[in-house]
């Protein structure tokens, strides 16, 4: 029978804590860039101009259909050869997850925008608004409210996906756990504790999402996925 011993994990908990901060940092960065980029992609894809809509559609579909780990390797190993930059694990991860999440956010934005009744567009046009004005003043404010649950769900997916950065030696929670497991020869305790930390953080977040969803449902707003 295996004897569990968490003392080495507890003694080195600051390492895991730093890892968690690393996870939050890369998630935050990807959100900060991914959300605006996703909006731009969505608006471009919905644009009546084909030269805008088509490339945006391609970027969205490409980054949604290829594995994030392949994207990460490409940006980490291949991009610095193509353009002359000093590539770091953080930079590669930031680029990958910003673009990757923006592709998913774009679809959330798009679903939210097309879910708004046609009458809202017509009412905006009837008082003389141009398309960009109607989008900014009438459509988006309503759409964003409906998108909140889908957004938070995506943000949670993003946080889980950031574990991939461990494979290019960015010091996120999983990477730190791996280091610690090798150092202490206690992989069971370390990886179990790590899984629990992820669970607590992510499950906590998704409980918040469910609360938001319930409140929106009570206030009578439908939501989009």
């Amino acid at each position: 029978m295996y004897e569990w011993d968490f003392t080495s994990v507890i003694e080195n908990s600051d390492l895991l804590w730093q890892g968690l901060l690393g996870t939050l940092a890369i998630t935050g960065t990807a959100l900060a860039f991914g959300l605006p980029l996703g909006l731009i992609l969505a608006l471009s894809r919905l644009s009546p101009r084909r030269w805008l809509a088509w490339p945006a559609g391609f970027v969205i579909e490409f980054f949604r259909t290829t594995p994030p780990l392949v994207q990460l390797f490409w940006f980490f190993f291949a991009l610095p050869i193509l353009i002359d930059i000093q590539m770091t694990p953080y930079l590669a991860a930031a680029i990958t997850f910003s673009i990757q999440s923006s592709a998913f956010f774009a679809e959330v934005f798009r679903a939210g925008i097309v879910s708004i009744e046609k009458g809202q567009w017509e009412a905006a046009r009837a008082i003389g608004m141009q398309r960009p004005q109607a989008m900014r003043r009438i459509i988006l404010p309503q759409a964003v409210k409906r998108m909140i649950p889908a957004f938070t769900e995506r943000a949670i997916e993003l946080m889980k996906t950031t574990t991939l950065v461990a494979t290019v030696s960015y010091a996120d929670l999983l990477y730190q756990a791996n280091e610690l497991a090798q150092k202490t020869y206690r992989p069971i305790e370390v990886f179990t504790a790590t899984a629990l930390i992820y669970f607590v953080v992510i499950f906590g977040l998704s409980l918040c999402v469910q609360a938001v969803e319930r409140r929106l449902a009570v206030s009578g707003d439908s939501t989009v996925r």
Binding site: T65, T66, P67, F73, A78, K160, L164, F191, A195
Partner: protein, 221 residues
């Protein structure tokens, strides 16, 4: 941007990439079939009238949905072998992690599909004297599966993408092979570009098919 692309160096190693692709498909097939079957069982258990079935199923689903799949794979690769009385290969560890993760996600799809069926169908089943299990198997599931088809296809696509994580524990999937080729040849651009395009070419037609499916269902239902 005066880089000279040279796909010839990748072409030379096409046999290695092909082996990787076969391995990718192999682990995908294992995870897809076992993940969805287990997911169906979990979804049914989650919806069961018996609390001792419902509770563990809920815990399983929530735990595996709310932890990153790579953490699960690492756990099965680095931690589990110490507890298990047998050898754990990279394929087994990765397949375990991805399967359990997929089971949790597809359980929610099955549950949602089952709950989307009008309660009148249950009543109609009971009214002609069918038991819970019979109604589920003969009335509810056949209708629910049709509705769940787009979501399950999407899950399949996610699983296919997820298989690349197996390369992180040195399972020889297509990404792992590309990484080897890249390090031997110093041609990461071509190697990774080829893999990215391969995934896109394989998955995009399926993505399009789900769009068509979703649109048809939105009209039909």
């Amino acid at each position: 941007m005066d880089y000279v692309w040279d796909f010839g160096s990748v072409w030379e190693y096409r046999a290695a990439l092909w082996t990787g692709l076969i391995n990718t498909v192999r682990i995908f097939a294992i995870c897809f079939v076992t993940g969805l079957s287990l997911g169906l069982m979990m979804g049914l258990a989650r919806y069961s009238v018996r609390r001792w079935l419902r509770w563990p199923a809920a815990c399983f689903i929530e735990f595996f949905r709310n932890t990153p799949v790579l953490v699960q794979i690492f756990w099965f690769y680095f931690a589990f072998p110490i507890l298990a009385p047998f050898e754990i290969s990279a394929l087994m560890a990765a397949a375990l992690g991805i399967t359990l993760n997929s089971a949790a996600f597809s359980a929610e799809i099955f549950r949602g599909g089952i709950q989307s069926i009008d309660p009148g169908q249950w009543e109609a089943g009971r009214a002609i004297g069918m038991r819970h299990r019979e109604i589920m198997a003969r009335i509810i599931l056949p209708q629910a599966v049709r509705r769940m088809l787009p979501a399950l296809t999407n899950r399949g696509i996610e699983i296919f993408k997820m298989t690349t994580l197996a390369s992180a524990i040195a399972y020889a999937d297509v990404l792992h092979q590309a990484r080897l080729i890249a390090s031997v040849n110093y041609n990461p651009i071509e190697a990774y570009t080829v893999v990215a395009i391969a995934f896109f070419v394989i998955l995009y037609p399926i993505v399009r098919a789900t769009y068509v499916l979703e649109r048809r269902m939105a009209k039909g239902d």
